[in-house]
């Protein structure tokens, strides 16, 4: 099957497909940002997408979440066609993401950041809002409780009334993931979650990613620069360069692939080895 590497266990290959991208091509004017991109994710996988700067990794995320419309190709989530859907509907179907440069609602509290993502699940409408009905109060309490749960997981429980923009950088990254989870995704797209983190923070992040995958039964696609993270937690990896896939495989194979080493990994991979 296109979009998947060789050598995965039959148990994994038997799982249902969550995301299927086939022949996706995207142009910015005359610039070919993504060419003939295939990717198939199965339930519960933790997959990495790597490549040098400008390889088109974030563009892939933007294509999946409807920020850009693919010029060609098909993108399907479970049984639904994602092409042409507005972003908020795609998110409501169960795909959430974080951003390369953190995009929190910086002037709002930590709690509100999470509760905003919960809005589509709020379960009450404008009339309840205007009248503050019983239903409103119940749902509101339920929402606060849920949000609190997410915040506790990310160690933010104590800081929920703080302004999001005032948190230290690492916590802001965590809050962004918490906010993404509050949208109740089945597929989580993490865009460089380890950017700007020191090795110890990266270790913590790896544990956290594993933990949320198991806890919320997620499929995770990860864009990352930091080899330490990618090589350690991803089950398999797709490598892009200039918008095209140049390698795909298990971390161990990708690391030894001469194309990859040449295009991107260079000394860093050698160091890790």
């Amino acid at each position: 099957m296109n979009g998947r590497p060789e050598g995965l266990s039959p148990e994994v290959e038997a799982r249902p497909v969550v995301l299927e991208m086939a022949g996706v091509t995207h142009f910015f004017g005359n610039l070919r940002a993504v060419y003939n991109f295939d990717l198939v994710l199965r339930h519960g996988e933790l997959v990495g997408l790597i490549g040098p700067n400008g390889a088109g990794k974030t563009t892939i995320f933007n294509l999946i979440t409807g920020v850009y419309q693919a010029t060609q190709g098909s993108i399907r989530y479970k049984d639904a066609n994602l092409l042409g859907l507005p972003s908020h509907e795609i998110v409501q179907m169960g795909i959430a993401r974080t951003f390369q440069n953190i995009r929190l609602f910086a002037n709002l509290t930590v709690l509100d950041n999470v509760r905003i993502a919960y809005h589509p699940h709020a379960g009450y409408g404008l009339v309840d809002s205007v009248l503050h009905t019983k239903r409103f109060r119940e749902k509101e309490a339920e929402m606060a409780e849920q949000a609190q749960e997410f915040l506790e997981i990310f160690g933010l429980g104590e800081r929920r009334n703080d302004i999001a923009g005032s948190l230290p950088y690492g916590l802001q990254r965590r809050l962004e993931i918490a906010r993404a989870l509050a949208a109740y995704p089945r597929l989580l797209l993490l865009d460089e979650p380890a950017a700007g983190m020191n090795p110890q923070e990266i270790d913590e992040l790896m544990d956290l990613i594993h933990f949320i995958r198991d806890r919320f039964d997620l499929t995770i696609l990860l864009v990352e620069h930091r080899m330490r993270l990618v090589m350690n937690i991803c089950e398999w990896i797709t490598v892009m360069d200039f918008g095209e896939i140049i390698a795909r495989g298990l971390p161990v194979d990708v690391r030894n692939d001469p194309h990859v080493v040449e295009a991107y990994l260079g000394r860093q991979a050698v160091d890790i080895r």
């Binding site: 859907l85 429980g157 544990d207």
Partner: protein, 418 residues
């Protein structure tokens, strides 16, 4: 629990005191008609500015169209009561039936459109315009002959004092709903534009409304509005309870909406549209919602103002005037309801009350020199507005208290993985 009740108790208690004090002052004649007018005007302009604060301060959509909706509310409700006191229920029936039908059609159309996907903005806009026209056509052709006599007899059977109040209520609601419908139709295509373009488009809207009002007797079939000469003969029905009640209603509705999930969605759009979209907020709908709600407030204020002044002139809704609510909102502090209300009253007190009365004869035009100066000084000394983001406790967001830690954070990821 008791502690959380407290701000609302204080709020309503203070409100009641203000209500009673002003009512008594009005009743014993300590406040003459001039000051009465100032207070009522202040309340009306506060409502208009609160609406704008919802649109601009909380939703981040820079709008200059607020006076257009204010004008729609004023003229609509004035026309209803003007005709009613002259024995003609047609305006009342058309607006009420038309507005109700429109709402029903909108609901049906929204459900219908949800079954399709990829319907373009202009298609939706056209469909909504069509059903609006249809609703009002039905109201005119079927509603008036059918319900007109009914309204006349039923309301006519009641004592005049009662029927008058009921008609006034309908007139206010009618004005507010027409403003809402207009803003909805205007908002669908225009809110998709970027923020600056939206501001310019709303400015255009205000100018269009002003031109239409100048020509109500020639372009539009409303000879009683008398075009650029100004509409006279509107019954002076606005009383302090109506003014106070409307303002209170606007404050409560706005507060409740802002303190809900809908309100958080509205604010998130102001903070970061793209991020809001990517956590699943329907940005376009949220913008339209805030815009319509803000315009409804303006329409309601228009009705209150029209029935206090008993005279409407298109010149009072020209585009220079349309900056007034904007100045009030910025002056009071963007996204501070307290600031908007206080500044709204202060604004009218200063410009129309104090300065007009106490400047020497012939110096009234100096008011227009004083207020830019005040604005300038203000912008230099306190750019975030008089109140910044301050809110009185009742309007302030009550954040849930931090939970008492019963057990150590066993849930937190580090410990689980450790």
């Amino acid at each position: 629990m008791r502690q959380r009740m407290k701000p609302s108790v204080t709020f309503f208690a203070v409100g009641l005191v203000i209500f009673v004090v002003i009512q008594v002052l009005l009743s014993v004649g300590l406040l003459n008609n001039y000051w009465r007018g100032i207070i009522f005007w202040g309340a009306a302009i506060s409502m208009v500015a609160l609406g704008l604060n919802l649109i601009y301060g909380f939703n981040g959509q820079f709008s200059l169209g607020q006076y257009g909706f204010y004008a729609i509310g004023a003229y609509t409700s004035a026309d209803i009561t003007y005709r009613w006191v002259r024995g003609d229920p047609s305006a009342l029936v058309v607006v009420l039936v038309g507005a109700l039908l429109t709402l029903a059609f909108y609901a049906l159309l929204a459900v219908f459109l949800r079954r399709f996907y990829g319907v373009t903005v202009m298609t939706r806009f056209t469909l909504y315009v069509l059903v609006t026209v249809l609703a009002f056509a039905i109201a005119v052709t079927v509603g008036v002959p059918l319900l007109g006599p009914l309204f006349s007899t039923v309301l006519g059977a009641l004592p005049t004092v009662v029927s008058q109040q009921i008609v006034f209520l309908f007139a206010l609601l009618g004005g507010a709903s027409l403003a809402g419908i207009a803003s909805f139709l205007f908002g669908i295509p225009v809110l998709e534009l970027g923020s600056d373009y939206f501001g310019i488009a709303t400015l255009g809207f205000t100018i269009i409304i002003k031109v239409l009002l100048d020509n109500t007797d020639t372009l539009l079939p409303f000879p009683e509005m008398k075009g650029a000469r100004g509409m006279i003969g509107i019954p002076q029905w606005t009383t302090w309870p109506w003014v106070f009640g409307s303002l209170l209603l606007v404050i409560l509705v706005m507060r409740n909406v802002l303190h809900s999930s809908v309100g958080r969605a509205i604010v998130s759009v102001r903070e970061d549209e793209r991020a809001a979209e990517l956590v699943g907020i329907d940005v376009a709908t949220t913008k339209v919602l805030a815009f319509v709600l803000g315009s409804v407030f303006a329409g309601l204020a228009g009705g209150i103002r029209a029935h206090d002044l008993a005279f409407l002139h298109p010149q009072s809704f020209n585009f220079i005037q349309s900056f007034n609510p904007l100045i009030i909102v910025v002056f009071g502090g963007l996204s501070s309801m307290t600031g908007t209300v206080v500044t709204g009253f202060f604004w009218i007190f200063l410009l129309e009350g104090v300065l007009r009365l106490y400047l020497p004869q012939g110096f009234e035009t100096w008011r227009m020199v004083v207020y830019p100066l005040v604005l300038l000084i203000m912008m230099l000394l306190r750019p975030e507005g008089l109140f910044g983001r301050y809110e009185i406790p009742f309007l302030r967001r009550v954040l849930p208290p931090l939970p008492v830690k019963a057990e150590p954070a066993a849930e937190s990821a580090q410990e689980v993985s450790a």
